[in-house]
């Protein structure tokens, strides 16, 4: 690991200043991804800014009466375990709790923060191996995953430069529920929909999000959710626990008088960023829940997929995962 200067701060402005004024500075919170990548020399830093002491770890829940727009605010430094086990998150946003608990291990969830989960790198085995080229690690060097071992890679949102998957479970649930991230930087604060926070790889897979120099994720904001009754996070993987998704689906329905009035379908394990299947959602609106309808939503959710040699199975697996998650969401 390359030598770095270590410092910590209890002041958000100072963290922003330090981060923005040095080209190779990195924030560190839980460290679960960063320490791993530093140790592999995949990421190098000359200054680590420890932000664990910043006062942005609160989880706040709001009533619709007093706060019509915002249902919950989750501080960027809230630990994944604390979010997943929070009683009102479980009650109002069970999808988020389920998604978090399906990811990583208890130890990692105790360390990892919400902001860090959002910031985890879109990555693959080639990205982690400095002995081989990788457009994300070294722009322009090539992508050995295309035409190589790509069983676990993406089929949606890919480019000629990169087919790595965004591995988060939590973020799949968050985009399904229209989460926004509050960013704070040298130019002040701004709010961005999480689904737009992530960039598709295109010709620049090294740039994964629209953070500007010095910007920090301060919190995640959620609108009130009408989906608590009918939602389900389904993760399909090679082993039953502590494994990345081959396919995951965060499905949520609002049902009134037997008809679906609002629907959310987000996919993980198959795309270069947490993926909203908007066409599949539209197809459900105004309909009565049925197995046939959910199967159709599954078909539509994966339209436009570009499978590689070894991951074509994900197309069929996604269809079935979406169907099963929707069935589970209505209790079948």
């Amino acid at each position: 690991m390359h030598p770095f200067k270590y410092g910590k701060t209890v002041d958000l402005k100072e963290a922003i200043n330090q981060l923005g004024s040095q080209p190779k500075a990195n924030l560190i919170a839980g460290g679960t991804t960063l320490v791993d990548l530093l140790r592999l020399n995949v990421v190098t830093a000359n200054h680590l800014i420890d932000i664990n002491q910043l006062p942005i770890a609160n989880i706040e829940i709001f009533e619709a009466k007093s706060s019509p727009e915002i249902g919950a605010r989750i501080g960027a430094l809230a630990r994944n375990t604390d979010v997943a086990m929070h009683k009102q998150i479980i009650k109002n946003y069970p999808l988020i709790s389920q998604a978090i608990l399906s990811g990583a291990s208890p130890q990692l969830r105790n360390m990892a923060t919400v902001g860090g989960n959002v910031m985890q790198r879109t990555r693959c085995a080639y990205f982690r191996d400095t002995a081989v080229p990788c457009n994300k690690r070294e722009p322009g060097s090539g992508c050995p995953a295309i035409g190589g071992l790509n069983r676990s890679h993406a089929i949606l949102g890919t480019s000629e430069s990169c087919i790595a998957v965004h591995a988060s479970d939590m973020c799949v649930a968050l985009v399904a529920l229209d989460a926004q991230v509050l960013l704070s930087g040298p130019q002040g604060e701004r709010k961005v929909a999480l689904v737009d926070f992530y960039l598709l790889p295109g010709n620049h897979p090294e740039k994964e999000n629209l953070l500007k120099p010095g910007e920090i994720i301060v919190q995640v904001e959620l609108p009130h959710s009408p989906f608590a009754k009918h939602s389900h996070y389904l993760k399909v993987r090679d082993r039953e626990s502590f494994s990345f998704a081959l396919v995951s689906a965060a499905c949520a329905l609002e049902i009134k008088n037997g008809k679906i009035v609002d629907a959310r379908i987000a996919l993980g394990g198959v795309a270069t960023k947490p993926w909203r299947a908007l066409d599949a959602e539209k197809l459900l609106l105004g309909q009565s829940p049925s197995e046939g309808l959910f199967a159709k939503a599954g078909e539509v959710s994966i339209l436009g997929a570009k499978p590689q040699k070894s991951n074509a199975f994900k197309v069929e697996l996604t269809k079935r995962t979406v169907k099963r998650a929707l069935l589970a969401a209505v209790g079948e």
Binding site: M1, P3, F4, K5, Y6, N46, A104, Q107, L108, S241
Partner: protein
């Protein structure tokens, strides 16, 4: 003709040899860092940093410790190399196996994925801190009673996770325990016995707490 070296001469030779070895090692380490630095885009432009030392104070198993660490030193390496608490094991060094599991402020974490310098003021418990007054922790007793290991390398991590699990939310079934223990890999596959040991402690046959 025999070649005799006096006791004093032998001592002088030994000192000279170790001094040479130390010098060689220092130069090797220095050139190694310089070679690494040349490859690294972080340090291009000849700006090779000095190793950054950080002073950190924390409690380990109830004892105050003040250590000076390289900023890159993991908490695991600090425990093992600086404090000579070698119970916590280095398996993968990437948070995938759980052999390094310790408790920090009452929560289990992977000590390989965190830097020692980040733990100012923290209370750390390692496997060495479980036994009290010469008596093993009930979870340790249960692992022995149920033969919850084979080679034993993952065992300190398994036991630290198992003790942490007692104060976490975890369902009653064996499958729930397996899920809650999924961050600890055992390549001898002693899993059934590990689950049995944990279940015995959870069922309250023995009084177990930290």
């Amino acid at each position: 003709m025999t070649y005799k070296i006096s006791r004093r001469r032998f001592g002088q030779l030994a000192i000279a040899t170790s001094a040479l070895a130390a010098l060689y090692e220092y130069n090797f380490a220095k050139s190694n860092i310089q070679a690494l630095a040349k490859q690294s885009p972080a340090w291009q432009g000849g700006n090779i940093p000095k190793l950054t030392k950080v002073n950190v104070n924390f409690q380990v198993n109830g004892t105050k410790q003040a250590v000076e660490v390289d900023s890159r030193m993991s908490l695991l390496d600090c425990l093992r190399e600086k404090l000579k608490l070698t119970g916590s094991k280095k398996g993968c060094d990437h948070g995938q196996c759980g052999a390094c599991t310790v408790m920090v402020n009452g929560r289990r974490i992977n000590s390989c994925l965190t830097f020692a310098c980040m733990h100012e003021g923290d209370e750390i418990t390692t496997i060495e801190g479980l036994a009290k007054d010469g008596n093993l922790h009930p979870m340790q007793e249960a692992f022995i009673a149920h033969d919850g290991f084979q080679c034993g390398y993952c065992t300190p991590g398994q036991i630290m996770s198992a003790v942490a699990l007692l104060s976490e939310t975890c369902g009653k079934q064996d499958s729930d325990v397996a899920e809650c223990m999924s961050g600890n890999i055992c390549r001898c596959a002693a899993y059934p016995n590990i689950v049995a040991a944990i279940q015995e402690v959870r069922k309250g046959k023995v009084n177990a707490s930290l």
